[in-house]
């Protein structure tokens, strides 16, 4: 394993338009203000409202844009359609089932091959590593995609704080197992709890974040609150939600989907239009809200930032 990995430095302003940057405290304040405004405007037509009744803290429409000029999806779209099998396999049913899921306080245990293992609360993490806005494309393996303005901090900052030992090569992520609150966990066809993994250099890439909010506000339960991983150049299922454990290990961790169907869901699962899933074409995708399909981009459009991680690797073999 190459230990001289490097974290590609990106000028923040490249990712986040300055005008959209909000510190955690600022956004808490603006969220509170916006919540009040929304409460007043709740009966007005066009108030962004999801079916579980939660309201977008800020008006998301055309305020956000990714670095390629794609407008972000609306809060309503992002919160009402996603895969979260801990709740249900129906992507339209997650929001309703997650409506009462408690996301705060939230603990996440960072341990394993580290010098400073520690259990953090999400509030602590937000204080230690000021969340920044990252507007990322999210590509689902089923052929649809979203553009989402996350609030989060680079995972590398947390790793720096816990100091991985020299043996650590990979990071293992584990999602909460709460069958009383997550009805999907009673479905025994899955090897719960949800698990994911990254190579240490992938985890340290500046694009990899832990998100604790989105659209300038809290991270809704259906989108992975209290805290989730976001790895924008990989298919959506790699970005594990509702994390309770982050473990540094010296092996390639099992992942839930890889355990179910190893020939279909590889460890890497990088977005790659040239490598079809054995059952689905990955050449095109539909951005939620669009009528037409669009071409899927190599590494979901993040090739310049992450291509170095896979230099010399056969991406057909390492799918």
């Amino acid at each position: 394993m190459d230990k001289d990995y490097q974290s590609l430095k990106i000028d923040r302003s490249e990712i986040t338009p300055k005008s959209l940057y909000l510190s955690r405290r600022d956004f808490m304040r603006s969220a509170a203000l916006a919540a009040g405004a929304v409460a007043l405007a709740a009966c007005a037509p066009g108030a962004a409202k999801s079916i579980d009744g939660s309201t977008a803290p800020t008006d998301p429409s055309n305020a956000y844009m990714d670095e390629l000029g794609n407008p972000a999806n609306s809060f309503q779209q992002t919160t009402n359609y996603n895969n979260y099998y801990e709740f249900t396999t129906n992507p339209q049913g997650v929001a309703r089932l997650a409506a009462n899921f408690p996301t705060s306080p939230w603990d996440v245990n960072v341990y394993g091959l580290v010098n400073n293992p520690k259990t953090f609360t999400v509030d602590e993490l937000n204080q230690l590593f000021t969340p920044e806005e990252r507007i990322y494309r999210m590509r689902c393996v089923e052929g649809w995609s979203l553009v989402i303005p996350w609030l989060g901090f680079p995972l590398s900052k947390l790793l720096e704080a816990v100091e991985p030992t020299s043996e650590a090569t990979h990071v293992r992520f584990e999602t909460v197992f709460a069958p009383d609150e997550m009805p999907g966990l009673k479905n025994l066809s899955y090897p719960w709890p949800y698990q994911e993994g990254l190579r240490l250099d992938e985890a340290n890439n500046d694009l990899t974040i832990l998100a604790t909010g989105m659209y300038g506000g809290e991270l809704p339960a259906q989108n992975g609150g209290g805290i989730r991983l976001v790895v924008p150049w990989k298919y959506g299922f790699k970005s594990a939600k509702a994390l309770v454990k982050i473990e540094l290990v010296d092996y390639q961790p099992d992942t839930l989907w890889n355990a179910i169907a190893p020939n279909e869901y590889g460890f890497y699962s990088n977005v790659n239009p040239n490598v079809d899933h054995p059952r689905w074409s990955q050449a095109t995708e539909r951005r939620i809200g669009d009528t037409d399909r669009r071409l899927t981009l190599m590494f979901n459009g993040y090739e310049d930032q992450v291509g170095y991680l896979y230099e010399g690797m056969d991406l057909k073999e390492n799918y």
């Binding site: 079916i51 309503q76 779209q77 009402n80 359609y81 099998y85 396999t89 992507p91 339209q92 393996v141 089923e142 052929g143 649809w144 479905n187 066809s189 899955y190 090897p191 989907w257 355990a259 179910i260 169907a261 079809d276 054995p278 059952r279 689905w280 074409s281 050449a283 095109t284 539909r286 939620i288 009528t291 037409d292 399909r293």
Partner: protein
């Protein structure tokens, strides 16, 4: 039972067109429908499968449960199954891929589940266009032979479904419950056609009927 309004006939026709209307409204005229095209594709596929299964149920329901009105509608149910499959395919070609045949060709070529869906669809098409009385008279023995394909269409559609869900069919891990339910129903509907099983079930029915009648003779 003499002057009967064939209510089941009404149920079939209203049920089919009503379902189509509801699926269009729920997906395309509903502000909470976030991914309408993919969802409509799923809904119409499921409706096609359900109507094909109901059609497959016609014969055994008629002979074993003696519900003759149901059996009489098996052809209509099958044609509606084909109708939903046609809407499903149209949704795929038009709504999903905008008739961009460059992409469609690649997807069909590389996607195994579509091969099974296509096989089922072509057979259903053949049965639908020969479903008229005239055709039956014209084709004579061959009509019966051709219409035995009905036993193959539903299993192919179930395989199509199994291959779409994120699951492992061999270990039954993943999102297997729905296709498993439809698959089991199809399997049962095929098994009850086997003569000894069929005879056994008919005897069981008459035994239950005579027992429940005894304390209260007509």
């Amino acid at each position: 039972m003499d002057k009967k309004i064939e209510w089941f006939r009404l149920v079939v026709h209203i049920g089919a067109w009503g379902t189509l209307l509801v699926l269009i409204l729920v997906n395309f005229f509903n502000p909470n429908s976030v991914n309408p095209i993919l969802t409509f594709e799923h809904h119409t596929g499921t409706a096609a499968l359900i109507f094909l299964i109901l059609s497959l149920a016609g014969t055994p329901v008629g002979s074993i449960l003696e519900w003759k009105d149901f059996a009489k509608r098996k052809k209509a149910l099958g044609v509606y199954g084909f109708m939903f499959a046609a809407v499903h395919v149209l949704a795929f070609l038009w709504l999903d891929y905008g008739f961009q045949f460059k992409f469609i060709f690649n997807v069909v070529k590389n996607t195994v589940y579509i091969w099974f869906g296509l096989a089922a669809f072509i057979m259903a098409l053949a049965l639908a266009i020969t479903s008229f009385k005239k055709m039956k008279q014209l084709m004579k023995k061959n009509w019966k032979r051709l219409h035995r394909l009905a036993y193959v269409i539903a299993p192919l559609a179930v395989i199509h479904f199994f291959l779409i869900v994120k699951a492992n069919i061999l270990t039954l891990q993943g999102n297997v419950i729905e296709p498993l339910i439809y698959g089991s129903i199809v399997l049962i509907l095929l098994l009850v056609r086997i003569p000894p099983i069929k005879r056994g079930l008919i005897n069981l029915r008459t035994a239950i009927q005579s027992r429940t009648r005894r304390p209260n003779p007509v």
